[in-house]
């Protein structure tokens, strides 16, 4: 239960390295330079774009197929989450509403 096999540790170290480098290199290297205003503007659109892409993957894709039906639990549960997010602007409230909606959907389905 508490054993760590050397081959597994080596695999994890490899995975950790290739995960860490893309997280670290741009931040540490680019912080040394003055970034051009156009690049800064472009970067200001990265959060909204990443979030929307990640969310689209969760809400519109079922398996690896497009599923826009209300039979897709993720898409259905997103509706109350969006309503709470718009109404309350509370992140925690949105998360709780989403979880509750999903639990309800699973209960009924």
């Amino acid at each position: 239960m508490m054993t760590v096999r050397p081959a597994i540790l080596a695999l994890f170290l490899g995975m950790a390295l290739v995960t860490y480098l893309p997280r670290m290199a741009p931040l540490v290297i680019l912080s040394r330079f003055e970034l051009p205003p156009l690049l800064l503007r472009w970067l200001s659109f990265v959060p909204v774009s990443v979030l929307s892409a990640l969310l689209a993957k969760e809400l519109f894709i079922n398996g690896s197929r497009l599923d826009l039906s209300l039979g897709h639990p993720q898409l259905l549960a997103a509706i109350p989450a969006f309503l709470v997010a718009i109404k309350t602007r509370s992140l925690m409230g949105t998360v709780v509403a989403g979880i509750a909606a999903m639990a309800l959907i699973r209960l009924i389905a």
Binding site: T19, L27, V28, V48, S64
Partner: protein
């Protein structure tokens, strides 16, 4: 940009922990589910915790464990992990305006905690303003600790518990993305932001449908959508 000259946001480490509360709430069930799955795939409890500590990347840990159980060789698993996590290049770059004033060693450490979720929370709060390293560290360390702890508990509990999905907990992270997307759609360049969001969603879905199983959908969708956003301003 005016954001460059504005003073340090006086956020304490504790404020970082508080800001990270929704991330922790989201990581609990996913980490737990990962722990259960890792045990089922033949990892020990210690190995499960070590993977969450070292790799610290949700989707690639699930994929990596699955590949390991399927007998795939380590170099292929590492290559897949690299592709799956390459999108962090963009997030790391987008954090430069908020973190550039830190010492390089501070950013070298803080970068370990950049995930989809911590990135989204950080950028939603900071909006390009500078942040104290303590704030980021508070958020990153608490989220990471929660991820490791919940995967160890999942590994220990194993088959004892039933289906965590029945409780709706698998929707915690998507719901958090919903809550974080909304503040990103406000502000004076709102129209461009809506445009970028729409393009990102469309391109991501189109890529996934056209190339099932690809690791490139998020990164390509983000590059195209951010470019459209700039053009729309």
């Amino acid at each position: 940009m005016a954001a460059q000259e504005s003073p340090l946001v006086p956020f304490s480490p504790m404020a970082g922990v508080k800001a990270g509360a929704p991330v922790m709430l989201g990581y609990l069930p996913i980490g737990f589910a990962f722990g259960v799955l890792a045990r089922a795939a033949g990892l020990s409890v210690a190995e499960t915790g070590l993977m969450s500590l070292l790799v610290y990347a949700g989707s690639s840990q699930f994929i990596g464990t699955g590949l390991l159980a399927a007998g795939v060789a380590a170099p292929s698993i590492i290559a897949t992990t690299f592709l799956v996590n390459l999108r962090h290049l963009l997030m790391s770059t987008a954090l430069v305006p908020s973190l550039r004033h830190n010492a390089p060693w501070q950013n070298t450490l803080l970068a370990y905690g950049i995930t989809d979720e911590t990135f989204a929370v950080n950028t939603a709060i900071l909006q390009g303003r500078p942040a104290t390293p303590g704030f980021i560290a508070g958020l990153h360390i608490s989220a990471h600790a929660c991820w490791v702890a919940s995967s160890v508990v999942g590994a220990l509990a194993g088959q004892l518990v039933g289906d965590t999905n029945a409780l709706g907990l698998d929707f915690a992270l998507p719901a958090m993305f919903v809550g974080l997307l909304m503040p990103n759609l406000r502000g004076e360049d709102r129209k461009a932001r809506y445009g970028a969001a729409a393009v990102a969603a469309l391109v991501a879905v189109a890529i996934i449908v056209a190339f099932p199983g690809t690791s490139w959908s998020i990164i390509i969708a983000t590059i195209i959508a951010a470019t459209v956003g700039v053009l729309l301003v």
